[in-house]
Symmetry: C2
Subunit: 422 residues, 2 copies
């Protein structure tokens, strides 16, 4: 068994944490920003230092490759993204890039023999922080391999026209066209040149920490559906309109939200998660009864049957009036549960056991580039713990040892694939 180098890993963590440092522990590093450019230049510098060849595709996805001994073997790719959410942490995404770099650096430093070329990569715009949607560029690259009903989400021209949330004059395509690392479409990830993909990532939840495990052997990305639940009431003056005649959309939504929690919790699925995170209220004035309120509900579970049970509860909401308001439930987004390649999951589990690292099987509630890649290539993921389960915020943290353990697991799983094949 080989082990990655904790000191080298720590140096990378410290260095990359400077690019977009928001001054209070975390980073803001939107895709294609000057801060993201600095991170990519550091990636190039370090990968060129070990003799890797750098390629970039037309979406500015970056690929650093070291050759293997077999000229006919396809590349094994490892990677993630280097962009963040606003005031995000120093681990989400970038850990998977640093882990891939660390694997290549270890292979070169230790002279580890391998047949397949090994590639470390960066996906552009995973967070979609400035230009929605998230996982945009893995979506575009894997477009033709996706199930029909998801393809529309990543139609190339639509993505290029994605508008900046910061500058209404700017589109993703326009910003990309002048970006230093925009390259050639022929360099895109493809099944002719690439064998399989690994993505190392922080868990972004508290399950590993609570179980006292250092590595999560990820088996799938949870199926997800997002609905908007909308209530249509009647605006009137707060001081003059009698209570009994009101159609208060906020009161309606609050009542329905409590009802949803009761009904969904009654289903009794321990591993079901659902979140009502986004809200629109109109007119949002303290002296006017709200005539409109809507909230998002994001529901995730491995089994489609469980999602169906929740969907049934949701779709029944409009059958009655809520505080005199009409209710409408509209689908925003959904995806199936994506199971990782069983052989690759097995290699990860074996590597973890052989390295004597505490581990457990886990599924991913969050979406990752790997899930789109899985439509094109055999794919899997490795999780390391998140302190207190925190992510998408500045206190996000994983210890150097855990980050290095994750990279070591990836290294040994890659070597198993290299030797034993799929």
């Amino acid at each position: 068994m080989y082990k990655c180098n904790a000191a080298r890993m720590e140096d990378k963590i410290k260095t990359f944490s400077k690019f977009g440092d928001a001054g209070h522990g975390g980073i803001t590093r939107y895709s294609l920003s000057p801060e993201a450019l600095m991170a990519r230049e550091e990636f190039v510098k370090r990968m060129e230092a070990i003799g890797a060849t750098i390629e970039t595709d037309d979406l500015a996805n970056m690929y650093a490759t070291i050759p293997g001994t077999d000229p006919n073997a396809k590349r094994i790719v490892m990677g993630s993204h280097c962009d963040s959410v606003k005031n995000g942490g120093n681990y989400d995404g970038i850990l998977g890039v640093m882990g891939a770099m660390e694997v290549l650096e270890t292979v070169v430093a230790e002279g580890i023999e391998h047949k397949h070329p090994l590639t470390a990569m960066i996906w552009t715009n995973e967070e979609g922080s400035e230009f929605p949607p998230c996982m945009m560029c893995s979506g575009i690259v894997c477009h033709d391999y996706m199930p029909e009903r998801f393809r529309d989400n990543f139609e190339y021209n639509k993505m290029m026209a994605s508008k900046s949330i910061l500058d209404p004059e700017m589109t993703f395509g326009k910003k990309l066209s002048t970006f230093k690392f925009k390259g050639d479409a022929k360099n895109r990830l493809n099944p002719e040149q690439y064998e399989a993909m690994f993505e190392l990532h922080i868990e972004q939840g508290p399950i590993l920490e609570d179980a006292g495990k250092n590595v999560g052997v990820v088996t799938c990305v949870l199926g997800q559906m997002i609905y908007r639940v909308k209530f249509y009431g009647f605006a009137a003056h707060a001081g003059t309109f009698p209570m009994k005649k009101r159609h208060d959309a906020f009161h309606a939504a609050a009542e329905a939200l409590c009802y949803l929690h009761e009904e969904i919790d009654k289903l009794g699925h321990e591993d079901l998660v659902y979140t009502t995170g986004e809200v629109v209220i109109h007119p949002c004035v303290n002296t006017v009864i709200p005539d409109y309120f809507d909230f998002s509900i994001d529901v995730r579970h491995t089994q489609p049957e469980v999602l169906d049970q929740v969907r049934e509860i949701l779709l029944k909401l409009p059958e009655k009036k809520w505080q005199g308001c009409d209710c409408e439930v509209v689908l925003g987004w959904n995806r199936d549960t994506v199971y990782w390649n069983k052989k690759l999951v097995e290699y990860v589990r074996e590597a973890t056991e052989e390295l004597n690292i505490s581990h457990m099987d886990i599924n991913s509630g969050a979406g990752h580039d790997a899930q789109y890649v899985s439509y094109m290539l055999p794919t899997t993921m490795i999780f390391v713990p998140s302190d207190k389960g925190l992510s998408h915020c500045e206190p996000e943290h994983t210890s150097v040892e855990q980050c290095t353990d994750g990279a070591s697991v990836m290294l040994n799983a890659v070597l198993k694939l290299d030797k034993q094949g799929l």
Copy 2:
């Protein structure tokens, strides 16, 4: 009994509805805007046409006065505001200005004898749509007569520094300084020159319509308190954070809102109104559990004891955790119930009866300039019905006949005061 002229009233309604016409039935006419300027120029044109003298004060409040026969008698003033909320209606505020103009026009046209000078006036910035707070200029003018604890709200320099919600570079003072009708502070409403004030206004609620009455004899402006109810939770990833460990601030707020409705309704006060109209949620992202939610609650009733009962329910909320979240309840604003001058209310009631107009006593849930004036001068209000109780929206409507009835009542009540005194 004298009657105002419906045709002349209708002409005014049609004319003033053009100034700020939003193209779909209502108006947007912020104070000091070009649209408000047009309305004021129309006011000047029509008042000069009947020989009224125009004065303006340092806050651009406008006063059009016709003389009476007694050189020692103080002025009787009638008026309201000509600014609107965004996409507001053609009656809120401006009806009180048009009604005052109609009274003066009728007095001149019919040669009605009167001892006191009669003044029609426009208050600047009642709505506070661009420059908060509402009722700003009546607040400033009546500042020294207000109860101590309200004065801070209308401190002159603070009001001049009020920032535009449209243009962060613009303050109320700056905009006022270049406004055509900014005049001299010596012209401000004052108790040495003015005897009493009347304000004609639409009800902005459905009570008169439901009761089938054409005039409301207003007896008071309801006491009001506005609190913010805040919940502090814990943000985490929607897909990865188990339900049982969550501290969801939106769920907490929804539960507390439903609880408040139950508890307040149990008090059993039919004429109590309370409204939760404004909401803040953080981070408002569909994949993140909200860590902060707050809503406003605006509560109004004539009796302070009833407001105290509601306050007690509100202030007890933080005694427990709501969905694991801390709760805080913060006072935003309050005012006492303001009772109108009994003699003036009696004159209004008598005038309505003598004119044979259907009427009822009513209180005002909304705030009006008259409530600040009442700290300085004997004051009262007259309401006319709002179709379906709608106001602060474009469908706001009151028939020409009802508007004219309201003006006729004001005319005859003013003549009673002119003859019989207070």
